[in-house]
C-alpha cells in the first residue's frame, strides 16, 4: 500500500500531498492540508457541505478521489475571501443572518459563488434549484436565498460601476 504524491493547486497556491489512492479530495483537504472549512455531512454527495470548485466547476469533494486533482485547480471556502476582505456573498450571509449553526455555510457560499459567477441575475427559483444540493437544517433556506439574491444585486451594481 504505497502512497501517491499529488501535485495540485489549492486556492491559487501550489500544494503537494501524499495520499492513499482511495483517499477522497475532502479527506486530503481536511486531514493532509488542514483545510477544515470544507465539511463532511454525509460522505455520499447528498448534502453539499464539502462543496469546492475543481477547475471552475463546483463538485462535492467527497465524490472526488484525491489523485484525480493532479495538475488541477482546487478552490475551497478558505479561498473565497481575498485576504481579510470578505466576498460580497459572505458579507450578505452575515447581514441577513443566513446562518445559524454555520456548518453548512461554507458549502453554500462556494455553491452560491459558482452560481453568481455564471448567472449574475438569477431568479429565486433558479437560486433554490441551484442550491438544492446543499442541505441546511437550521434556516429553512429563506434567509440564505435572500442573501444570495441580495449579493447578486450588489455584484451587478459593482459591475455597472466598473463598466
Amino acid at each position: 500500500m504505497s502512497k501517491l504524491l499529488v501535485s495540485t493547486s489549492v486556492n491559487g497556491d501550489p500544494q503537494q500531498f501524499l495520499c492513499d489512492p482511495d483517499t477522497t479530495l475532502l479527506d486530503a483537504l481536511r486531514e493532509e492540508m488542514g483545510l477544515t472549512g470544507s465539511k463532511e455531512g454525509c460522505g455520499s454527495g447528498d448534502c453539499g457541505a464539502c462543496t469546492v470548485m475543481l477547475d471552475g466547476r463546483m463538485v462535492c469533494s467527497c465524490l472526488v478521489l484525491a489523485p484525480e486533482v493532479e495538475g488541477r485547480q482546487v478552490t475551497t471556502i478558505e479561498g473565497v475571501a481575498e485576504g481579510s476582505r470578505l466576498h460580497p456573498i459572505q458579507r450578505k450571509f452575515l447581514e441577513h443572518g443566513a446562518l445559524q449553526c454555520g456548518f453548512c455555510t461554507p458549502g453554500f457560499i462556494v455553491a452560491a459563488k459558482a452560481l453568481l459567477d455564471r448567472n449574475p441575475d438569477p431568479s429565486e427559483s433558479e437560486v433554490r434549484y441551484w442550491l438544492a444540493g446543499n442541505l441546511c437544517r437550521c434556516t429553512g433556506y429563506d434567509k440564505i436565498v435572500r442573501a444570495v439574491l441580495d449579493a447578486a444585486a450588489e455584484l451587478r451594481q459593482d459591475r455597472r460601476a466598473v463598466a
Binding site: C42, A132, D142
Partner: protein, 752 residues
C-alpha cells in the same frame, strides 16, 4: 404588538447586528466537532451491531489486537458495572445504566447500529480494518419495531427486568411498555356524550431524525493522573461532563469538556454517544483519540424522535366551545427506557386551550430502534398533530372558521392551565388575531390548492446558568458564558450586555467557556438560553455597573449612591466618566472589574405559534407542494430579530419535512433502510417557498427585555397545518404521516 413606540424603549434589543462569530463561520475557520486535532492523536472506529436484537455470547478481539497500528480496543466489559441511578446532569435526568449501555452494549444489542466494540489506531484506515477483525458471537433474537407490535402479548421483550412504571400496581410480568402517564380532570366521558359534535380518530407518525448536518465527533485525552479532557460538539458540555463521569465512575471535576462549534443539534446533541468510549480508548492507549460518526452511524444509532400512535376523541358544543377530550398517545421509546417525551406530551396536549374535562394517557413503548432522544419541542408535535387535526374537523363540521374556533377556546392570562397552574403573560389570543388579520389568511387560492391552519405551543424552560462580565483595561467588555452557540446566541448575549451597560454592541465580545472555566450551565436546549443565560448576563452586567459606579465615586470622592449610570457613563451632576476612563483607572481604584451571576430562573413563559399553510395537490400523482407559508409566533421580545425569525423559519421547515417526507423506514430484518440523506428526505431549497415569519411581541415581565423562548415552538404547528391543508385540498382527512405522494395517491384511489 410591534408598536414602534415600544421599540424605542431599547437601543439595541430587537436590532440585527452581525454576529460576533460570523466571520469565522463564513470563511471556514470555525472549528467544529470533526475539525479538532490534538497532537499525537489516534483515530477511533466503532463496531456496530448488524442485528436489531441479539444476545452477545462472546467477543473475540484477538485478531484486531495484533493488527499493526492498533493501540486500544474497548468493549462493554471495560465499562464499570453500574446500578440503575438517575443522574441530573442533563436538562432531564437520565438513568446512567441505560445511558452507558446505549454507548456500548454489554450482554445484548437492542437496535441496528448498537455499538459493541471500539478501536483506536494510528490511522482511520487501520481502525476501520481492525473492527472488521473483531468477531462477535451473536444469538439473534426476534425483533420488534412498531408500537402496536411491541405491545402484543407475544412480542419479543427487550428487557426482562423491565416492568411498566406508572401503573397503580407494579406489574409482575416484564413489558416493552416502559412507562404510563396519565392526567385526568373533570369528567371527559360525560362531557363528550353531551357534545354537539365529536371527532374520533387515530393518528400515526413514524420516528424522524433531528437531521443536523454535522455528525457527532469528539476527541478525548486521558491523563495518567486520572483526569481527562474532551473536545466535542455538543449542546451541553456540562451534560457531557456529568454523563461521562457517571458512566465511567470519575469525579466530575476530573473531566474538562471544551465545547467546539456545533453544527446543529435540535435536541439530538444533549446526550453522549461517543465521549465515554473515547475516554476509555484514550485511557488504554495513553494518547488522545478521535471518534467521529459517519452519516449512516448518525441515522442508525442516534436519537430519532418518537413515532406515535394517537387516539383522540374531541368534542365541542354548537358554538365551538371544546367540551371534553380523551387522548391516548403511545410514543416509541427505542431500545432503552427513559424517554421523557411522554411527560412533555402530557404537558403539551391542548395546553393552550381551556379544556376542563380531559383524560389524557401517554405510553412510552420500547422497540428495537435507537433510544429516542429530544428533538425540538420533544413530544409536542406528535400529539399536537392529532389535536389540531381534530380541531380542524370540528370547525368544518360545525361550520366555524378555523381561527375563530381556536379563539373561542384559547387560554388567556389568568386562566388555569391543564397542569393546574395559572397562565402568565401569554400572547396566544394576540397571535391568533394577528393570523386572522394577516393578508395570507384571506388571499385567494388557485386550483387544487387549499389552506390549513394550526396552532402549537411549547412550555419553554429556564434553569441554571452562569455568566461572567469582565471589563478590559480599555473598557471593552468580555462576556463569558457556558452555553454553546447553536444559532446566534453570542449575538443575543452581546446585545443584552451592551444594552444593559449602555455601550456599543461592538464593544462586547462573547466567549463560550469550557466546563473548568465557568460555573455550571445547563445545556443549550429547551428554548432556555436567551432567557436564562441572558438573565445571567444581564445580572452580571448590572453587578459590573454597581462596581463601575463605586469606582467613579472613588475618583470623585463622593458616595457611590450618588453616582448614576447611563449611556455607558458614570454621571454625577455635570461630571461624566466613561467606561473606558473608569477601566483605565482601575489599577488605582481597587483592581480588576468583573462580576459573575449564577442563577436558576424559573419564571419563563411558553411560546405559541399559529401557522398558515397553502398546499397544492397533484391529484394524478399525489404530489403535494407547499405554495405559501406564514408562521406567526409570540416571541416575548426579540433580542436579535434575524435569529428569532430564523428559528421560526427553520422550525417550520423541519415540521414541513416531518409532515411530507421524513420517516424512519425499517426493513423486514429490522435494519434501517434509509440511513442517508438521499432516502431520508429532508426538505431541499427547491422544495420550499419563503417562510414568512411574523414576530408577535407580548413580553415576559419576568425578563428585563421580555424574552420568551422561541426555538422549539415553531416545529409544533406545521404537522397539522400541512395535513389540514392537504385534507382540505382532497377532502380526505390525513391521519398518517408522512404525507408522501404514494400515500395521497392511495387515499384518492380508495375514495374513488
Amino acid at each position: 404588538m410591534n408598536a414602534p413606540a415600544e421599540k424605542k424603549l431599547f437601543r439595541l434589543v430587537g436590532t440585527r447586528p452581525i454576529r460576533p462569530d460570523g466571520i469565522e463561520k463564513v470563511t471556514g475557520k470555525a472549528i467544529y466537532g470533526p475539525d479538532f486535532v490534538a497532537p499525537n492523536m489516534l483515530q477511533g472506529a466503532i463496531l456496530r451491531s448488524p442485528h436489531p436484537h441479539a444476545r452477545i455470547r462472546g467477543i473475540d478481539t484477538s485478531k484486531a489486537e495484533v493488527l499493526p497500528g492498533v493501540k486500544a480496543i474497548v468493549t462493554g466489559a471495560d465499562f464499570p458495572e453500574l446500578d440503575s441511578a438517575m443522574v441530573a446532569g442533563g436538562e432531564a435526568p437520565a438513568n446512567i445504566k441505560y445511558m452507558a449501555r446505549k454507548c456500548m452494549a454489554t450482554d445484548k444489542v437492542v437496535f441496528d447500529g448498537h455499538p459493541v466494540a471500539a478501536v483506536a489506531a494510528t490511522s482511520a484506515t487501520i481502525a476501520e480494518a481492525a473492527i472488521q477483525l473483531i468477531e462477535v458471537d451473536y444469538e439473534v433474537l426476534p425483533h420488534v419495531i412498531d408500537i402496536e407490535d411491541a405491545l402484543r402479548p407475544d412480542a419479543p421483550i427487550l428487557h426482562d427486568d423491565l416492568f411498566t412504571q406508572g401503573l397503580p400496581e407494579l406489574p409482575t410480568t416484564p413489558s416493552n411498555a416502559a412507562m404510563r402517564v396519565e392526567v385526568r380532570r373533570g369528567d371527559a366521558a360525560r362531557a363528550l356524550s353531551e357534545a354537539a359534535a365529536v371527532f374520533s380518530g387515530r393518528f400515526t407518525l413514524r420516528p424522524v431524525h433531528q437531521g443536523y448536518i454535522e455528525p457527532h465527533a469528539c476527541v478525548a485525552s486521558w491523563h495518567a493522573d486520572g483526569q481527562a479532557q474532551i473536545w466535542c460538539s455538543t449542546q451541553g458540555h456540562f451534560t457531557v461532563r456529568a454523563l461521562t463521569a457517571g458512566i465511567l465512575g470519575m469525579e466530575i471535576a476530573d473531566i474538562r469538556v471544551v465545547p467546539l462549534e456545533i453544527g446543529g443539534g435540535f435536541g439530538g446533541k444533549t446526550t453522549v454517544y461517543l465521549e465515554p468510549v473515547a475516554v476509555l480508548l484514550s485511557r488504554k492507549a495513553g494518547r488522545p483519540v478521535r471518534l467521529a460518526m459517519k452519516r449512516d452511524d448518525v441515522f442508525r444509532a442516534t436519537g430519532p424522535a418518537p413515532g406515535a400512535v394517537i387516539d383522540i376523541r374531541l368534542g365541542a358544543g354548537a358554538d365551538g366551545t371544546i367540551s371534553g377530550a380523551e387522548v391516548e398517545f403511545k410514543y416509541t421509546g427505542g431500545g432503552f427506557p427513559g424517554a421523557h417525551e411522554v411527560y412533555a406530551g402530557l404537558h403539551c396536549t391542548m395546553s393552550y386551550y381551556n379544556v376542563p374535562d380531559a383524560h389524557i394517557v401517554g405510553w412510552n413503548v420500547l422497540s428495537n430502534i435507537p433510544t429516542v432522544h429530544a428533538y425540538r419541542a420533544p413530544g409536542a408535535p406528535q400529539v399536537n398533530f392529532a389535536v389540531e387535526s381534530a380541531m380542524d374537523e370540528l370547525a368544518r363540521r360545525l361550520g366555524i372558521d378555523p381561527i375563530d374556533i381556536r379563539l373561542r377556546n384559547i387560554a388567556r392570562p389568568g386562566d388555569t392551565g391543564g397542569m393546574g397552574m395559572p397562565h402568565g403573560a401569554i400572547g396566544y389570543a394576540e397571535t391568533l388575531e394577528a393570523a386572522k388579520a394577516h393578508p395570507h389568511y384571506s388571499a385567494p387560492l388557485g386550483p387544487n390548492q387549499a389552506r390549513g391552519v394550526a396552532c402549537g405551543s411549547w412550555g419553554n424552560y429556564g434553569g441554571p446558568s452562569t455568566a461572567a462580565v469582565s471589563v478590559a483595561e480599555d473598557g471593552s467588555i468580555l462576556v463569558t458564558e457556558g452555553n454553546p452557540d447553536i444559532g446566534g446566541s453570542r449575538a443575543s448575549m452581546a446585545i443584552m450586555a451592551a444594552e444593559t451597560l449602555g455601550i456599543a454592541y461592538e464593544k462586547v465580545r462573547v466567549v463560550v467557556a469550557d466546563t473548568s472555566s465557568i460555573g455550571y450551565s445547563m445545556g443549550t436546549g429547551g428554548s432556555r438560553t436567551t432567557f436564562a443565560t441572558g438573565k445571567a448576563v444581564i445580572q452580571a452586567a448590572e453587578a459590573v455597573i454597581a462596581i463601575l459606579r463605586e469606582r467613579a465615586a472613588k475618583q470623585w470622592n463622593v458616595a457611590a449612591g450618588e453616582v448614576q449610570w447611563g449611556g455607558g457613563e458614570a454621571v454625577h451632576g455635570d461630571r461624566r466618566l466613561s467606561l473606558g476612563q473608569i477601566a483605565a483607572a482601575s489599577g488605582t481604584t481597587g483592581g480588576p472589574i468583573s462580576a459573575q451571576a449564577a442563577i436558576d430562573p424559573h419564571d419563563y413563559l411558553p411560546g405559541f405559534g399559529v401557522h398558515i399553510c397553502d398546499t397544492e395537490v397533484d391529484r394524478e400523482t399525489g404530489q403535494v407542494s407547499i405554495v405559501r407559508y406564514t408562521a406567526l409566533q409570540d416571541v416575548g421580545r426579540a433580542i436579535h430579530a434575524d435569529y428569532v425569525e430564523g428559528q421560526i423559519q427553520g422550525g417550520a421547515v423541519q415540521g414541513i419535512g416531518w409532515a411530507l417526507n421524513e420517516a424512519y423506514v425499517y426493513n423486514q430484518a429490522g435494519l434501517l433502510d434509509n440511513p442517508g440523506f438521499l432516502d431520508y428526505r429532508m426538505p431541499v431549497a427547491s422544495d420550499m417557498p419563503m417562510i414568512d415569519a411574523v414576530m408577535i411581541e407580548v413580553p415576559n415581565p419576568a425578563h428585563p427585555y421580555g424574552v420568551k423562548g422561541v426555538g422549539e415552538t415553531p416545529i409544533v404547528p406545521p404537522l397539522a397545518a400541512v395535513a389540514n391543508a392537504v385534507s382540505g385540498a382532497i377532502g380526505i382527512r390525513m391521519c398518517d404521516l408522512p404525507i408522501t405522494p404514494d400515500r395521497v395517491y392511495g387515499l384518492l384511489l380508495a375514495a374513488e
